[in-house]
């Protein structure tokens, strides 16, 4: 789960990372009131989970109430790369001498935590990594040991930060690492980390991505999620505990396992169609999950056909088949549903479908056949 900047700053502040005073608001009037309270100059920042906000005009400096009102009304509702701005973060403006980059994440290849610091912050760090890799200091940290002071020193000296920033940066790195581990984050990133003219080091942005798998030991994740933006289809799926990503095609997809679902999207594409979504019912899905998945998919008005592609391992095809039958009984399924079942209890599953014939329920023997059929039906449905 990705947090908005303001949420990221609020959680990092709890670990002692210095951030600017600010307020999150959803209306122009609230934005002006917040700016008046904070005192000018303030920065009006669009809260969207996409890079390049500044270039798109989503970050503006306001020196007065009038300017705050003008910027807030321009930015609220703005579309930044497909993300509509519904929330603003109003923050006291900072004087900046230098801009740095700092992050902790997991290095999959090394199987260690990776800390990175660069003196070239405030810009696209991927570009820095490509053009001047030596400008990024990197340190691996053994997850069994955690951060020691020398790791932080190695990052700060390695990145050749201004000597005035050293001690502030070292203490922020240690706080940032603590947040990374204790929050069960996949990523904590500050870009830019700034040095002010009076020698303070300070986080001017925050990107925090939390590990949903650790949600059971972090009740606070739910509060953070409630304010995160969501596609209404994704919202509906999440309420039903489904792993769903909305897309813009016409073939609804239900499968088990991320790899098989991704492969199914690819095969639908090769068959000349386009997937309406990614929906992974996960391992061990029962009848209820399948019926829920069918409900979510068929609620999407763009869907012209549905492809259910199940290769049972921990998932039992008999339960899947029962879920499909239950789904047909509970909701009015208006589009054809192509079903391919293989693996654990596949024969029982196919027998259940055969014993309960429904209009629009189309069995298929193989994955490719199912994809071709679903694409064909989506096209003929669209013409009808």
């Amino acid at each position: 789960m990705d947090l908005f900047e303001y949420q990221g700053k609020q959680v990092l502040a709890r670990f002692g990372v210095p951030v600017s005073a600010g307020e999150a608001v959803g209306t122009v009037d609230d934005a002006v009131a917040a700016a008046d309270r904070l005192g000018y100059p303030v920065v009006v920042k669009a809260q969207v989970q996409v890079g390049g906000r500044g270039k798109a005009g989503g970050i503006k400096l306001a020196n007065s109430t009038d300017e705050a009102r003008q910027h807030a009304s321009n930015i609220l509702g703005m579309d930044i790369k497909g993300h509509v701005v519904r929330c603003l973060w109003i923050e006291k403006a900072s004087d900046i001498s230098e801009e740095y980059y700092a992050s902790f994440t997991l290095d999959r290849a090394a199987k260690k935590h990776l800390g990175m610091v660069s003196a070239k912050g405030g810009v696209d760090i991927e570009q820095v990594a490509e053009e001047d890799p030596a400008a990024i200091a990197r340190v691996h940290i053994d997850p069994l040991v955690g951060i020691e002071d020398y790791h932080a020193r190695q990052l700060v000296f390695g990145a050749k930060l201004n000597p005035a920033a050293r001690s502030g940066a070292i203490s922020i790195l240690k706080q940032l690492y603590k947040a990374f581990v204790e929050l069960d984050a996949d990523l904590v990133e500050i870009n830019p980390l700034i040095l002010t003219p009076d020698g303070r080091v300070h986080a001017l942005d925050a990107k925090v991505s939390l590990d949903d798998n650790a949600g059971y030991r972090h009740p606070e994740f739910e509060d953070l999620r409630s304010t995160a933006s969501a596609d209404p289809r994704e919202q509906m799926a999440r309420e039903r505990g489904l792993n769903y990503i909305g897309l813009d095609g016409e073939v609804g997809i239900i499968g088990n396992g991320a790899g098989l679902v991704m492969s199914t999207l690819d095969v639908v594409n090769q068959a000349g169609g386009k997937a309406a979504n990614f929906l992974d019912v996960g391992g061990g899905a029962g009848a209820k999950t399948i019926a829920n998945a069918l409900e979510v998919i068929t609620a999407d008005p763009n869907v012209r056909s549905v492809l259910i592609n199940i290769f049972g391992g921990i998932t039992r095809c008999d339960l899947v088949a029962q879920g499909i039958i239950d789904g047909f009984a509970a909701i009015d399924v208006k589009v054809p549903v192509v079903v391919r079942l293989d693996g654990t209890s596949a024969e029982e599953g196919r027998a259940i479908l055969a014993a309960n014939p429904k209009d629009g329920l189309v069995p298929a023997a193989t994955m490719l056949e199912a994809a071709n059929r679903a694409v064909e039906l989506a096209k003929s449905g669209a013409e009808a």
Binding site: A109, K111, A214, G255
Partner: protein
Amino acid sequence: MAIIIDENTRVVVQGLTGREGRFHALRNRDYGTKVVAGVTPGKGGSDVEGIPVFDTMVEAVNETGANASIIFVPARFTADAVYEAADSGVGVIVCITEGVPAHDEARFVNYVRTRYPDTVLIGPNCPGLISPGKCNIGIMPGEITLAGGPVGLVSRSGTLTYQAVHELTQRGIGQTTCVGIGGDPVPGTGFIDCLSRFEADPATLACVMIGEIGGSDEETAAAFIASEMTKPVVAYVAGVTAPPGKKMGHAGAIVSGSKGTAAAKIEALEKAGCGVGRNPTEIGEIMAEVLKGV
């Protein structure tokens, strides 16, 4: 021959008395796997269809001579189960559980690798592995495999593994061992661990490797294939049309040195000399051609 598990593997099931553990352990036993014990704290002394249940792993290993474990416990108890398995001395730990927090995973994977370098940890979030005709540890449906080799298969995906095995079996191509390493950020065993074992296994003549978008494991494996593998490798990468993730921040991309796209992975694998299928069915077609030449 096979890799990692064979007819001498004796399995203890952590979480045998749970719904999933019981269902799959019994299926593994029906397949012919020597399932010798189960562990559920507080249920020691009972049994599940004749499989004795112990309270602790140490006891189960001492009493039954188990040398491998399979973990079916819920995600919040998984780290504990892996540490217990490693310290009990089993040489193979297969962790099926999905949804394990990444930080837990990073800790226990490092623990096993540094304290017990000879212990093979497969998973978490994996379907397990099978040496057809000899031993099946996990949730893979054994009936879709074909014993006798000559293909070794390694996959990052669960169900896509079954699809690929199914494609081989449909064409009469058998397997030595099929390993589902799992799709989590820090798998205990990676592509290269498996490919090097297949390279050393005389019964394996060719390999199938199945990857997916994200990370750079496929690119790293491609470099290994180009420099170290004499046996042909047929590959498949899922996610060509997957939308760019809603990932924010850039640290992931910097670490991997690539965008983690399917296109980049396919290019790397093709450059390394692998035949790369465009869909799972082509894995079988390409492998049938490859085997004519070995």
